[in-house]
Subunit: 206 residues, 2 copies
């Protein structure tokens, strides 16, 4: 059956385990991948262009904003971050799936962009990954052992703000046990493939 792929917008507070949960799906679906964002910040040691990020100069980034190339973008602490339409649209039109790890603000911008293109609107689903409790989230952030007390407090403050937006998402998955959360995300992806809105032809003619 010819159909559009699915773009999962996955949000959730820092430390909730988005990468861990998705790693189970990447193992199962080898063609599935995270969308690679663009940034103007300098690469950190070990970060490869095109894998960690697409690293752009500020001039390049601004030119592509003006050209309408971004699905969503934002300026954070003087650096630009964004997702190119080119990163997502060709895959969707080719029937492939992609996961966008973006925050609540980014989700809202993508939702706006998608309204101008019915293929995008049909392909996007939004999923919020939530911790089983705020205490569990704090425990995970502290467990990393890499964060200062100030950084942990700041992340928890941001988490509370992100959590408040959960009802704006289509679906919510609680990450209690990562493999079980991955199974639920898997069901959401499988179910998304059955949506009539993404079918490009009558299935019984295929």
């Amino acid at each position: 059956m010819k159909r559009l792929g699915t773009a999962i917008i996955l949000s959730g507070p820092s430390g909730v385990g988005k990468s861990t949960v998705c790693s189970f799906l990447f193992k199962k679906y080898t063609d599935l991948k995270f969308s690679v964002s663009c940034t103007t910040r300098a690469p950190r040691p070990g970060e490869v262009d095109g894998i960690a990020y697409h690293f752009l100069t500020v001039d390049d980034f601004k030119r592509r904003i003006d050209a309408g190339d971004f699905l969503e973008w934002a300026e954070v602490h003087g650096n630009y971050y964004g997702t190119l339409k080119q990163e997502v649209l060709p895959r969707i039109l080719n029937g492939q799936d992609i996961i966008l790890d973006i925050d609540v603000q980014g989700m809202r911008l993508v939702r706006q962009s998608a309204q101008s293109d019915p293929r995008l609107a049909a392909s996007f689903i939004t999923v919020f990954l939530a911790p089983p409790s705020l205490a569990a989230l704090e425990q995970r952030l502290r467990g990393r052992g890499t964060e200062t007390e100030e950084s942990i407090r700041k992340r928890l403050g941001n988490a509370a703000k992100e959590l408040a937006a959960w009802r704006e998402y289509d679906s919510i998955v609680v990450n209690d046990v990562a493999e079980q959360a991955a199974d639920r995300l898997d069901a959401i992806l499988t179910a998304a493939h059955a949506r009539t809105a993404t079918c490009l032809e009558e299935p019984w003619l295929a």
Copy 2:
């Protein structure tokens, strides 16, 4: 997590295999069941009241229409058929799921009814079960060996009409291999449980 149950409206042409596909789900989820319809037609040998149908007199049926007790109802060849709200609502409010095996016209009526109650609107999902091809559907109807040529032609004519409405449904499942179709319906049900619209509380407070 406190949440509303899911009511799956399952439609598809006669002979497509709704009962067979659902039987796999009933085995896996012992609390899942088909909604029992009401009818004014006489019970056939072996049909037990409350299991095959709720058998009502015409007067009873009409009184319950006037009382607004039906989620959907229709008159077919002089007999009344319908689904009572009481059959569906208490289960949904109790977080339980139910499958409604109804036709396209019934789906449209349920969708209308659901608009008057946000709990119903959030709980209903619509799934169209399609044959892999029209030839496969004809083969299945003939394979039963219980139908006259006239009856088969009539069913195929009705099937073409039902198939034309597939885009009105949220999702479509092609019944090529019943167990695989059941797996896809299972994913749709599992994904439905993750919808934020049916959450009655913040999951991380539960």
